[in-house]
Symmetry: C2
Subunit: 386 residues, 2 copies
């Protein structure tokens, strides 16, 4: 047991990485999730709600394989088959798109919010239950589709007050395409990929030495990471093999579409980094909050069920909540015994939460009320007096 | 496998009793839950969010024992202890109230929404994942507390358009109090309780014959079920033993407080029925929707952790959704290629969901749009034309 990973709970009360959200955080998170979902619905993304549990074959198919080790399993006593508790929602949405919404015209725009559960937390991310809110755009291969999901996510974040974000674009297939075209063997490929992901330029240079033109190209692409417009120029000027050229041109189209619609959005491009993207093709996205607020969202292009082209973005409401300005809380007005029903109703309609006395022992300040109904109006309660 | 219990899914795709909510139902349910929660917050109930999983000792303590057999268990690989997937939220809120909010002044008003999971569905209620939205008022024993939770629930239902409800009050300890005072043995008590719960007047009369005054009293109380005012009169006129008298007087106080605040609410009282209430003391509530829409909520008075007096109400959003008038859906406006960003933003601010063409192949009607941006305004799309 590692109760240190769950600092908000007394030792032993809750399993590590599982916690209670209390007032006012629980309300703030819920309001934030609904505001994000409203941001998605405005762009025609329609909500689906898959179950928390389903048969593991379905849950772990396709992109679900990436979270297989993180998925709680349990036996279904009804069917005697193994079920999994979802560790990610994207595979479920992909299943819905391919089956129950299989006949609906493409592109299909779906959104979701809900909880996911993971078998183990990490030192940096101890939580084992996480909220997710996301969008999937299924059945569209155009660069404009990738641009749309990035922009819808950025606008949803702006709606909850999170501005100053950075959209980081990576190309998870680029390094493999370069190494394959250069005829690099599997063992050296693994070592180079690892060095590229660590941004270890010295190791990349040493490992690629003598491998032909790629020996000079890889360090140059590694150094190109930064503002997207400049990185795109480096890719354009480079002598890329055909597959890598296609990846670079697609990235340029996506980034161009984003810049055309949101010229003020900070976009970076890191052509040879992975960031743990396991099932993505084309562009992958990470949204970082301002300052040190960390990753707020991840997404990008993938192949859905039956290799249908798809792109999407998952927002992390717990991280977004830490990056968002605090929402004003509802003022609480105490209603002494004998307050009329009409007075209480009028206060609630004005935006107050009313707290009715149930006995003569109930006190406004103990019940954390900030206002008191004096029979005529809501009077602010002065802290430290009375 | 009983796929017949999951009529909305193709056979074998999802476990029985677990289903996907699709557009527009998923959006309708989410909006309804948030409207119910808003109804609770207006009365000073503050949101908490306990985790879906916790150690089984905590989850199954107190009122949680009632759902022990319905609780999925799984091993926590971190602590090597058994965890349960919640089958009810009330025990978690009771835990929070007693521990992390143990020092906060009473009465404590908390609310919650979320999913619960059950090992097996029944023939009448096949769902194994259910949404819940509820309130708990902890640390207040006054009849006004019970009246408040009933009225807050009724008002929350009215906010989502569900009117014409019936609040059914039962007294789960009344029959036991009567039988104990009459010196009835355990075996006969079980049979009488069963007959009372089935409303089998003939069996009650036969079983109670020769048991003294209770032989006449039980059939009279059974027949008293109906409008609360009349049932209260029957209880007042009856010669009740002390414990039963206290239960009846408390019920009269609760019902009186409800009638004073909501004279138009239909309230019934069934003095000797149980309806499966297992851990309730004092009054228990069931809210029935209009017509045949069934149970929308349940609640009542119980003993929380450390026997702290508490009362609450759990609403069933899936049932409420079936009883509520359909919410109007957002009109969808198709944006042809080349539509300006400003035009799209203005439409969204007017309340449209905008669906942007991503390629020349995208068609407004196939994408289920009801409006088309013609470069100047949103034009309604005529069905069956074009």
């Amino acid at each position: 047991m590692n109760d240190a990973a769950n600092p908000l709970s007394p030792p032993g009360l809750l399993p590590a990485g599982l916690m209670d959200l209390l007032p006012p955080e629980a309300e703030q998170e819920a309001a934030l999730v609904e505001a994000l979902m409203e941001g998605f619905c405005r762009y025609g993304y329609e909500r689906v709600k898959p179950p928390l549990l389903e048969f593991e074959e379905g849950l772990l198919a396709g992109s679900g394989a990436a979270v297989s080790e993180q998925t709680f399993r349990l036996m279904d006593p009804v069917s005697q088959r193994m079920m999994g508790l979802r560790a990610d929602t994207t595979p479920q949405v992909a299943r819905i798109a391919a089956t129950r919404l299989g006949l609906q015209a493409r592109p299909l725009r779906l959104c979701y919010s809900g909880q996911v559960l993971r078998v183990r937390g990490s030192e940096l991310a101890p939580a084992r239950q996480l909220p997710q809110a996301g969008i999937e755009l299924i059945g569209g291969a155009a660069p404009e589709a990738d641009a749309e999901v990035a922009l819808v996510a950025a606008e949803a974040l702006a709606r909850v007050g999170v501005t100053g974000i950075t959209l980081d674009v990576t190309l998870p297939r680029m390094a493999h395409a370069l190494l394959a075209a250069a005829g690099i063997g599997a063992a050296l490929t693994d070592r180079l990929i690892h060095a590229l992901d660590r941004k270890d330029a010295a190791a990349v240079t040493a490992l690629a030495e003598g491998a032909g033109p790629i020996a000079a190209l890889l360090p140059r692409l590694l150094a190109a990471a930064g503002p997207a417009a400049q990185a795109i120029e480096v890719l354009r000027a480079a002598d890329l093999p055909e597959a890598a050229r296609a990846i670079a041109e697609n990235a340029a189209s996506v980034i161009g579409a984003i810049a055309a619609r949101a010229p003020d959005l900070r976009v970076t491009l890191d052509p040879v980094e992975f960031r743990g993207f396991q099932y993505h093709v084309g562009v992958a996205f990470t949204i970082f909050g301002p300052g040190r607020t960390g990753e707020l969202a991840r997404g990008g292009r993938y192949l859905s069920v039956n290799d249908e082209p798809a792109t999407g973005m998952t927002l992390y409401p717990d991280a977004v909540l830490r990056a968002a300005p605090p929402a004003p809380s509802r003022p609480r007005c105490f209603l002494p015994l004998g307050t009329t029903a009409a007075a209480g109703a009028a206060l609630r309609d004005e935006g107050f939460a009313t707290v009715a006395a149930l006995s003569a022992a109930d006190q406004a300040s103990a019940l954390r009320c900030t206002y008191l109904w004096d029979g005529h109006r809501a009077v602010p309660i002065q802290k430290g007096t009375g």
